[in-house]
Symmetry: C2
Subunit: 158 residues, 2 copies
DNA sequence: CGATGTATCTAGATCGTCTAGTAGTTAGAG
DNA sequence: CTCTAACTACTAGACGATCTAGATACATCG
């Protein structure tokens, strides 16, 4: 959010035009990236938190099971809201509930193949565009970009 | 959103490690940036759309009046929702309604000084951190960064 | 075994948005 | 210049996603 406000009177201006220009481009990227997310929500006909949930389950199912508990904690919502959210996504055909073999109280969430196919077909074009765009820079240039991104990320974290 | 999923099986891997690494850092930045927005929402005790509205009125009040109509259109919500949103922000002391001198049907929205002070104090530290971080790169490096950001932004837009 | 903690779910309330429709104001066609 | 169509903001009522509170089933530890 800090980025979105950076074009106001935070700097007297003049001597750091180049820095401001770079940060403006960074802001522009963030805004456009947010739009792709909005478009995806429209494609899948789901809301923001449901899309975040889908991504979390999709990522997590690689390295281990995702429980409703973990999902709710990740999203910062209550267990009641998590139940409702999983109900929605299961009913929409994006998620499946399965019993947790290690704890009979628990559940394990999995994305359906339909969800994975839908996500991939929606994003494949953008992802390959991104890879092509970034691929046109040489290793030295990418090293500079990485340093910059690391620096601004650390700046926001502090 | 494409970025958030880029660490999955989109690439056979190997020959483009550097490219993937840069895009991962870009993703990391997007995630951290989103967290700063969440923190700001908690600070101001308002929700996402209300914060976007505040930013829109704040930006727009420089170059011309912002009407509820324009605000609602920008946010993609109906006029009824806009009325309710402006009610909330006005009641919270962040916004003022004033009659539009040029059209007696219309209103003009202004942020209160309290809102500006609160936003500035919440963001000043992060903005100066960002400027410091970006300021440690020389003009040549910043030019590379700008090219990269422009390229990935264009890639997402296409 | 029994006590306490954990994982999920249900019931009812709250809040932001929506659809539908109202009153006042503007502006263009005749 | 007037009449009518379009526009601006608002109100009323409904819906959906979230919340608080509490219920139920299972786990874990003394």
């Amino acid at each position: 959010m800090a980025l979105e406000l950076i074009n106001r009177s935070w700097l007297e201006g003049g001597e750091q035009d180049r820095v401001l220009s770079a940060l403006h481009l960074l802001r522009e990227f963030v805004v456009v990236e947010a739009e792709t997310r909005t478009n995806l929500m429209a494609d899948l006909k789901i809301k923001s938190n449901d899309l975040s949930a889908l991504r979390f389950v999709l990522d997590g199912s690689d390295e281990g099971a995702v429980s409703p508990r973990a999902l709710g904690h990740h999203l910062g919502i209550t267990s009641a809201s998590t139940t409702a959210l999983v109900n929605r996504l299961e009913h929409a055909g994006y998620l499946r509930r399965e019993p947790d073999p290690k704890d009979r109280r628990g559940l394990v969430l999995h994305t359906t193949q339909a969800a994975r196919v839908l996500l991939e077909s929606s994003l494949q074009r953008q992802v390959s565009s991104l890879l092509t765009a970034a691929g046109s820079f040489n290793p030295d240039e990418l090293a500079v970009v990485e340093d910059f991104l690391q620096a601004v990320t650390d700046a926001l974290r502090s």
